[in-house]
Amino acid sequence: MRKLVLAGNPNVGKSVVFSQLTGSKVMISNYAGTTVEFTKGLLTTESESFEVLDAPGTYSLEPTSKVEEVASTLVDQADIVINVVDATNLERNLFLTTELLERDVPLIVALNMIDEAGHKGVKIDVKKLEELLGVPVIPTVAVSGEGLKELIDYLPEAVNRKNKPLNIPDRWAYIGELVGKVQEVVHRHHSWLETLQDASLRPSTGLPIAALVLFIAFQLVIGLGEFLHEFMEDYIFEGFYETLLLYLSEALGSGGFLHDILIGQLVDGAIDFEESLGVLTTGVFVELGVVLPFLAVFYMVLGFLEDSGYLPRLAVMVDRSMHRLGLHGYSIIPMVLGFGCNVPAALAARNLESRRERFIACTLMSVAIPCMAQLALIVGLVGRHGFEYLAVVFASLFFIWVVLGLIIDRVMPGYTPSMIIEIPPYRIPSIKAQAKKLGMRIRGFLVHATPYILGGILVVNILYTLGIIHFLGVLFAPAVQGLLGLPGDAVSTLLIGFLRKDVAVAMMIPLGLDARQLVIGAVVLAAYFPCAATFTVLVKEMGVVDMAKSAVIMIVTAFSAGFILNLLLDTLIPAAYLAAALIALSLILPMVLGSTSDRRELSDLDETA
């Protein structure tokens, strides 16, 4: 079977073409660097079957980052390459095209986004372009499927040009001449989207827009998430589902091993979805009744932010502040993704150029960004005691994020080069594409999380039954109690946290903790170590040595933070004041301290990209 590789600049629609050709589902978003790993799919035409590979975007076959390396390696292995080209930016895209034409591989060009080119007044003489390049050029609109049939029909006509290699200036000269012959640009007036586009980049309007967007996103997730959660709890779990489980409980003889595993302990003869700790009671409730509602709303909001093209603009607005933490603006994307799940966030860090940046980004993300699954339980559990306690959790994590970033940037040698990123045009997200993406993410959650959540509850059950938790509780009591002010049995939550964070937070319920203990537990749990799934990916992305360093940072940070909270919260400083103070400090400290990384970059005259 021949290998068909989709190559092209970032954000030109490769993944849309891929999913149209193969029917496979992949992430599609309106920013450069969505695809960071290759995905395989199958395309069967009348004459032949192809293995299709969706590559990450790259501007050139001489890679400058980890993701671009992946793309360049894939091209080396290809039997045939479809070069997806953004018709609105022909000149820049042809740089890669001309590089591909020099490789020993048959090439065909998909001239994508031809619809947008029309709107922008760009006219391309396709026949002439085809002639000059010497390979088939097929105009396409990947999102609507236009032209893809022709693309498939023309695959056998792909041509291996094996052109003579050019140096960069000659390449640009050649492209310039070519574009002059095939492209005509008519001036168009700014559309309202373009006006908004520029407004979100100018600080006077862009900063208020950023604040507004983040505020609305936060309100939506917390508000709508809570609403859906309560709806599920009241109408599904405490109605229909509870009745069903009570039948099952009776059928199992209201006790015994299997009953304890599936239903757990009845509280006053009734099921308590939070405390029964059965796989079918607490397990299913945590997954579907608590996490799912919040996660669904979060992914809805994220999907909109991704597809509109706002995220890179947010990156521009926060670039200044991120530099103080040893990162540049684009690392806000892994951070935002991390609120959904830390796994894709760790992968997205591949878009950052240097090992230093990736280390800082991955460490800060796993320490201070709790995933939505964990947040859902924190909001439910801590929020009950008043918003000020929830605020302390958020403020502490924000503070940790900032201070840790400031410290690592100072201590770690080298510097983080400033960013250079393409800002995509705003696009109005299509409802259909949004629904598809949301469905894909929710399915992903259900498939990947179910074994961990239900398994986690099962493990807890077994550990409790065997008395192991209590044994460990007594063993670690001095540390847990003395340092964090939590009961010894809280060790169970830390233990389960290695597996799955949402279950770990849920494990605090039966311990009967008060508000301040819950806050301490939540912060320590969020920071001390990544869950199993994230850990696996981090080891792969950072390597064992960096992961080990990162792990030491995580553990030290988490327990120091827990200890300090234990000292201050409610004993010396009331929750609301502490939250306000932490946020104020997080904002002021970076301004006072400045950035080491910046000074190092400016003094490095021969800056490497």
């Binding site: 501007y59 050139s60 001489e62 400058t64 609105t88 930016n89 000149e91 820049r92 740089f95 922008k120 760009v122 960069i168 640009w172 586009q197 520029d198 980049l201 100018r202 600080p203 006077s204 862009g206 890179p312 990156a315 521009v316 607005m317 670039d319 200044r320 530099h323 540049h328 603006g329 080069p417 400033s418 960013m419 250079i420 990123i421 393409e422 800002i423 045009p425 910046d598 970059e601 400016l602 005259l605 021969d606 800056e607 490497t608 990209a609």
Partner: protein, 87 residues
């Protein structure tokens, strides 16, 4: 007159005249289409050493401060070319 991307004002147009950096920086910018002789328009810059956004052909690129000060531009209208910082 030649000014760096940081110095020119939002709205100003010009032609990239020089990239004062190592070859790695030049290559990286080049791959993105930013090269000597290329016409650009500055869209915005964020104060206090924030990134500069420019538009080139039909796309926009955000360039961090550390790189922006190395990209020199021959500005179009001389009378408006006095170095300005902010938007």
């Amino acid at each position: 007159m030649e000014f760096s991307l940081v110095e020119i004002k939002p709205g100003q147009t010009g032609v990239i005249s020089d990239i004062r950096g190592g070859s790695a920086l030049k290559t990286k910018l080049n791959q993105l289409g930013l090269r000597e002789g290329k016409r650009i328009k500055k869209i915005s810059s964020v104060f206090n050493r924030g990134p500069v956004t420019i538009s080139v052909d039909n796309y926009q690129v955000a360039v961090g401060y550390g790189k922006a000060i190395r990209i020199m531009v021959e500005v179009d209208e001389l009378e408006k070319a006095s170095p300005g910082r902010e938007s």
